[in-house]
Symmetry: C2
Subunit: 301 residues, 2 copies
């Protein structure tokens, strides 16, 4: 089934204990698309400004990523994010955010993308996510990512969005903030009960927690690696691997969801081994499959 | 093979968001022994004072726990710990510690316990742990638990202890503190390279990480439950389940280690569902086995 993603294609500046990059390719839709494209064709919807370097677009070339929905607007500037990571690098410290094009009208979903079966709404204002979702006819699965800012400032919009989507992806601190529950299993359960098929709670170096509407919990640790250089894009790459796998399998049963979470985990563990999306210059599906087998073996006892 | 534990049998006062207990049974050797006794007979070594309530000892009755090594000293007072948990209850806040008997001479290991095959040295001063270990003839596996206080204040003693033991158990913050490594996999690897067969890093609600001398990593999430009432003793119960399983299997190969970690995880997930050791009034091996099968199924994808 076809997979659609809406999100940012951005210019990042990142500093970690392992080095820094002044202006490099970033953005939720970028990380998501490349990750998902290892599994299935992807339709990308986003907007970039006239400052966006042409050669950054090469990342999409030669991959099954349809960039028809990537609007380049003259007179606009690209979304820029500057951040740093320290210590265990579990959380980014945002040094600067220039919304630029993200503060303008959202991109429009091209007509030919509107029958997408699987939709991922990367993190942005819930009201914008809803506007985007409503342009898609009748998806099999729609999943949204969100963050603390929307939970705190646009809670009603988020609750409305949840009425329309099938699943939500958020991190552990956000799940606790959203529900007021300290126990993560309880928090995930509460979120599912808002009317979702499932929720995925991302715990960074500690892995992910899945809770389904049937009250089935599944926990998966992160792939154990000490080769982490830059965690930027880990969450969107995870989501890309997960959604790519689900779309490729065209199934939402528990075994497939578990498989999708494991693939997402492996994809995320690869991308963070280098800055920006550099890891994908070398790594491909065989590397993902190798890591998947390792994780599967590791989890058996 | 016989399993020996040295540690505290204590009187705790605990407050959590789910209630509180003024004076109840606690102590590392208590939690460890009861957990391990579901798998194998346990030899307990510890010391209690004249204030220790006789009926607290009933916990050991009817279980394969030999309390010959539990000294009751008249004129001494029992070790007391008072703590509270808030929020996600990942960390105890110690409100009061009365060392009492722990500040006196350590207990002596009875002659008949000295050929124990498996030894667990629950958390105390590394120099004391070494003194205790040296009374055991030639154990197959000796494992010590430690904590931040010893890492910071008696680092040399801890390094010396590591020359004599086979494995170390500690939590994630302690592993980072001990090595200076922010990445947990790297930290675990560094500790193993100090001369251990394996190290187990406990991550509370996020599970455990095993690193072996062959550089094999194994990660296991905690059993997902929202029924946590009192996390006291989770770590010692985990260790009890792990060591109990290893002693019962009398093996240290990787498949057995993984199995032991999974059993430890299940045992710990049970004990925290009630205050003190109350959960064991009802729960037994069948409950552990049921949870083990659930965890095993959950981990398969």
């Amino acid at each position: 089934m076809s997979l659609l993603v809406t999100g940012t294609v951005a210019i990042d500046s990142v500093k970690t204990p392992f080095g820094q990059r002044e202006t490099c390719l970033g953005g939720s839709a970028t990380y998501f698309s490349v990750a998902a494209s290892h599994f299935t064709p992807v339709c990308l919807v986003g907007a970039i400004g006239e400052d966006f370097p042409e050669d950054y677009l090469k990342i999409f070339t030669g991959r099954p990523i349809d960039t028809t929905g990537l609007e380049r607007r003259s007179g606009s500037l690209t979304f820029r994010w500057k951040g740093s990571y320290a210590g265990a690098m579990n959380e980014a410290k945002t040094l600067e955010t220039r919304l630029n094009i993200v503060a303008e009208a959202p991109p429009v979903i091209p007509e030919k993308f509107r029958d997408a079966g699987f939709v991922f709404l990367a993190n942005t204002a819930p009201a914008v996510q809803l506007t985007l979702l409503q342009q898609v006819k009748n998806p099999t699965l729609s999943v949204a990512d969100t963050m603390n800012f929307w939970i705190q400032n646009t809670r009603d919009d988020l609750l409305e969005l949840i009425e329309y989507i099938d699943a939500l992806v958020l991190n552990d601190a956000e799940a606790r903030m959203f529900t007021g529950a300290d126990n993560l299993v309880a928090a995930a359960r509460q979120i599912v009960q808002m009317g979702l098929k499932f929720v995925v709670v991302k715990k960074g170096e500690h892995g992910v927690l899945l809770m389904t509407e049937e009250n089935q919990a599944f926990v998966l640790p992160a792939f154990p690696t000490d080769a982490v250089k830059d965690p930027t894009g880990a969450g969107d790459s995870f989501a890309g691997g997960m959604m790519g796998c689900l779309a490729a399998q065209n199934s939402l049963d528990l075994p497939t969801l578990k498989k999708a979470l494991a693939y997402g985990t492996c994809v995320a563990s690869l991308v963070i081994e280098d800055f920006s999306l550099d890891r994908w210059q070398i790594a491909g599906r065989p590397d993902i499959e190798q890591r998947y087998r390792q994780l599967k073996d590791m989890m058996q006892f």
